[in-house]
Amino acid sequence: MKPAAFIYHDPKTSKEVIELLSKYEDAKILAGGQSLMPMLNMRFVVPDHVIDINGVKELDSVFDNGSSLEIGAMTRQSNLSKSQDVKTKTPIFLEALGNVGHFQTRNRGTIGGSLCHLDPAAEIPCLMAAYDAVMIAEGPNGLREIPFSEWPLTYMIPSLEPDELLIKVRVPYWNSHHGYSFVEFARRHGDFAIIAVAVLIEMDGKTISRASISVGGADIRPIRLFEAEEVLKGENLDVRVFKSAAEIARKVDAMSDAYVTSSYRQRLAATLVERALVQAAERVSRGEN
């Protein structure tokens, strides 16, 4: 018996989940369990109540509303990769999801779980930063929309009240010819990235009209490189321009830990930003999307 004793609840609707969250002081939501179960097994977290939301069917959905993709919090990572809307409208997701753990963990792990766990190096939050996605939470007072830029409060803490539940995330589409690339560097396949980079670009004729660059793993939350995005705007798809964007990535705020220094993270960020831009440019030129 690994986890300490708790009382198990299996509500069927989000309303019931919120009631339980309001009622119990020390309750933890259990989604895919791929991050929470290890912490329960090791007794890093010892909640009195575990609220299993795997039976809340309304949270498991992928919906194309015409201008955005709405992804329910309980959507499994493996199911999202199978969605036709993802393949055609947000193909960068496929590239990123392939790096989220292993196929066995993706069969259980969810989109909402990753966004609430908020590991600094996690791929899904890095993507949401690139897209300026909107997080939709529900609490006793109804729904609340939180732009991703305000979602991480600090290290691994999302902007959620104790009685709130993440319901879904809304990902606004880029135009149908956008270029994209997700690249990361990890010591072994399936490990959390040391640095992950998501790039999106849109063109107006031969020049870049819009760009988004998000870097995960450098700091405690994904960072958008707004300055580098500005450098790209109005320019042609030119490696020299990509290199100047990469130089900005080299100055990104980066943490040090026992294995990786901040300057190593910065050098990786520069290399990967350039690599991602080159790939996104190739895709946009080939009209591959």
Partner: protein
């Protein structure tokens, strides 16, 4: 106060109905309650893959699921891969032939993971297979013989 639930699960085709303490992992439940010790628990925090079982046909880590969450579902463990008459699954045959195991600790997780993977991806190349078992740690073989066995099994399963 221990918290118990009554659950119904089908394990390798056999129905079980019993009371479990809700904090019991699926892995512990299979080994200690159902007495199927083929499923191995290595790290118990999701990293080694030895505990992999099939939940309604999909590979999952049994140390990261509660037994109560398997209520109403079908589980296949490594004991359920061979036919009822004892004839081995093509993967088991191939592991035997290619020495895909030494101590055997990782083997149940390798076999269940690969059985699910080959079901969805009948024509993998070596690279695909290395990615497929990237979440299964083996301290003995160096993986080469496992990859050889899986390539061979995939061929057999395609009828080649």
């Amino acid at each position: 106060m221990p918290d118990y639930r009554n659950i119904n699960v089908v394990v390798n085709g056999v129905k079980h109905e019993l009371d479990v303490e809700t904090r019991t992992s699926l892995g512990d439940f299979l080994r200690q309650e159902i007495k199927l010790t083929g499923t191995h628990l290595g790290c118990e925090h999701g990293v080694c893959g030895a505990c992999t079982v099939l939940l309604d046909g999909e590979a999952v880590r049994s140390c990261l699921m509660l037994a109560v969450q398997a209520n109403g579902h079908e589980i296949t463990t490594v004991e359920g891969l061979a036919e009822e008459d004892g004839s081995l699954h093509p993967l088991q045959e191939a592991f035997w032939k290619h020495h895909g195991l030494q101590c055997g600790f990782c083997t149940p997780g390798m076999l269940t993971s690969l059985a699910a993977y080959l079901g969805d991806n009948p024509e993998p190349n070596e690279r695909d297979l290395r990615e497929a078992i990237s979440g299964n740690i083996c301290r003995c073989t160096g993986y080469q013989s496992i990859v050889d066995a899986a390539l061979d099994a995939a061929k057999k399963m395609r009828g080649e």
